[in-house]
Assembly symmetry: C2
Homo-oligomer: 395 residues x 2
Amino acid sequence: MNKDMLKLGSNRSIIRELFEFSKLKKAELGEDKVYDFSLGNPSVPPAECINESIKDIITNNNDTYSHGYTSAQGDNNVRDAIANDLNKRYNTSYKKENIYMTCGAAASLCITFKALVESSADEILAIAPYFTEYKVFVEGTGATFKVVPADLDTFNINFDELAKVITKNTKAIIVNSPNNPSGVVYTKENLIKLSSFLNEKEKEYNHPIYIICDEPYREIVYEGNVVSHIPSLYDNTIVCYSYSKSLSLPGERIGYILIPDKCFDSKDLYLACLGAGRAYGYVCAPSLFQHVIEKCATYTSDMNEYKKNRDLIYNGLTNIGYTCVQPQGAFYLFMKSLEDDAYKFMERAKQFNIIVVPSDNFGVKGYVRLAYCVSDTTIKNSLPAFKALFDSYKK
Amino acid sequence: MNKDMLKLGSNRSIIRELFEFSKLKKAELGEDKVYDFSLGNPSVPPAECINESIKDIITNNNDTYSHGYTSAQGDNNVRDAIANDLNKRYNTSYKKENIYMTCGAAASLCITFKALVESSADEILAIAPYFTEYKVFVEGTGATFKVVPADLDTFNINFDELAKVITKNTKAIIVNSPNNPSGVVYTKENLIKLSSFLNEKEKEYNHPIYIICDEPYREIVYEGNVVSHIPSLYDNTIVCYSYSKSLSLPGERIGYILIPDKCFDSKDLYLACLGAGRAYGYVCAPSLFQHVIEKCATYTSDMNEYKKNRDLIYNGLTNIGYTCVQPQGAFYLFMKSLEDDAYKFMERAKQFNIIVVPSDNFGVKGYVRLAYCVSDTTIKNSLPAFKALFDSYKK
């Protein structure tokens, strides 16, 4: 069999591994005795629109509509609804032809990479810290995955580092803002600078360099931080979106790829995405949830809950003495490890029934990620454990 | 971008293309004036269990259960329910550890191929006539796709041809019974012969050769034809299953991969499938429909409807004078084209508002496939059009 796949299946994503560990631990100690900050599983329930729409759709339509195949690119009305929603949000003029429905952000990214990559020389760049699975998705297509080291001061894009990493083989750069794991929202200035930088590189290398926006956290943003619509700043932008986080539907695998007309070769790129989806066995995005999105595209879960959690955990941990990046969006807190080796810190935290993800797999050393999409009770109850963990380093 | 993917996206599956053509034609002429036999979209509604379970699950559980991430391999209770159902049907002793939940048969197949294939020299075989997308799925992994020519008398496996096609590079052979497009159920004798043949080849080549069963039509079978459980006949068997057809849920993308313990290297193979699913961006199978399957795994749609359709169309067409393979299972009829070139026959049929799929893409020349998972009214109304089409060849 394929040894790379065996390795990928055996060395599970550290996040998934901690998720499994936590399930066992909770079964042993009880749900409320384990402070699991490992997984980005939204804690805020979906808007009422979701379950109401499900009932409405299966009650008032025939089953072929509700559960039958849609076109590979997705149902027309669904894609219309999404285009309309985007146009209202961003003052754009997208049409259904710009949208390809997918089984969530992971599928969107894998399909986009597969559509773009021609050979193993092709490079796709991520900016550290970055979501661990990008490497898996890019290498799954046979391409080369390269990392732009982090700017540990601002957690925005470090252009000196980017200039060192980019080459004529660079096909695309992934931009993930609000960022998983740092919780930082890239500033508009930073993104405009990226746009200029890439425009120059496109001229120098004489081929397009795509920005691939992975933006499942687009709607989760605090205190007037603004998530720029990158296609409005840079023509060759492909957006990979998922409703997992904004509508609290991570298990349902529903999202889309947006390929604006301004994108170089946009029509062919759309077709290549359709081809890649076909080669990967994505026949169509789940039909019931396509129809749900048609009805709920304009909704989000109650984002105030995440804001409350953010304040609770950020203030709680900094008061104890931890150093944390203040989250501007998403539901992740990036916290400095209390020792150089974040894995060792993770292991120590486990002894206090605290589950956090070491930053090494995000392309940065010496931090841990806390997914604070948990109940406020979990956060409150975890603080004494965090204090004890902190104190254990004083001894 | 990737030229192969562009080609795959541009030259859509002929079935999907006809599906799109039919939608346009129906919009022009009216639903009842187009006799569309292109797509295997189940016409029989799901068992009541499906929509009842959906309502039950979303009403009586928290949303994290209903819509949240499951483990990558699927929810434990769901996999238990499926193992139990299989054990009752086939007198086996599968456990949840043998089952990996997927987004339908296409995903099951793509993931299995990706898990097995190590290099472009690796060969995966299909027996003609075969489901068109196998070629796309196999070549998507970089492997070589090879076809065992059809036995046009029995539409079972032609061992003389298989002996010519198999080589030391053969990793696996796909077995699809009841067969799409022929509607034939492979006999137990034929499958036992395949088992012996492959056992000898495994010894000769000194490596396992897997049978990959693609069996979404397992439950759709007529008049006492029996679909053998191939893992009981041949150890190195991997089953790729989907509930698309048996439960009439093709748009929901829900199925599984079964890797029995007897399978060579079964534990590693399971992990390699998990790895392949990860590399293709399949985070987990859709969660709500996983839970639905837990409740409905023992059910099927009303198969009598397909039987009635089968009789109606087979008798109707043979009475007109067409030569058809009598379907023993699935909901496809394989009919001889009235001219050598099945594409030309398809085009002529379109003039009579009849939509059928030429057999060339199924690896056989001179036939068309009719998916009779349509209303009986469509079949009845289509017969005069089929008669006119038949008569047009007499002129």
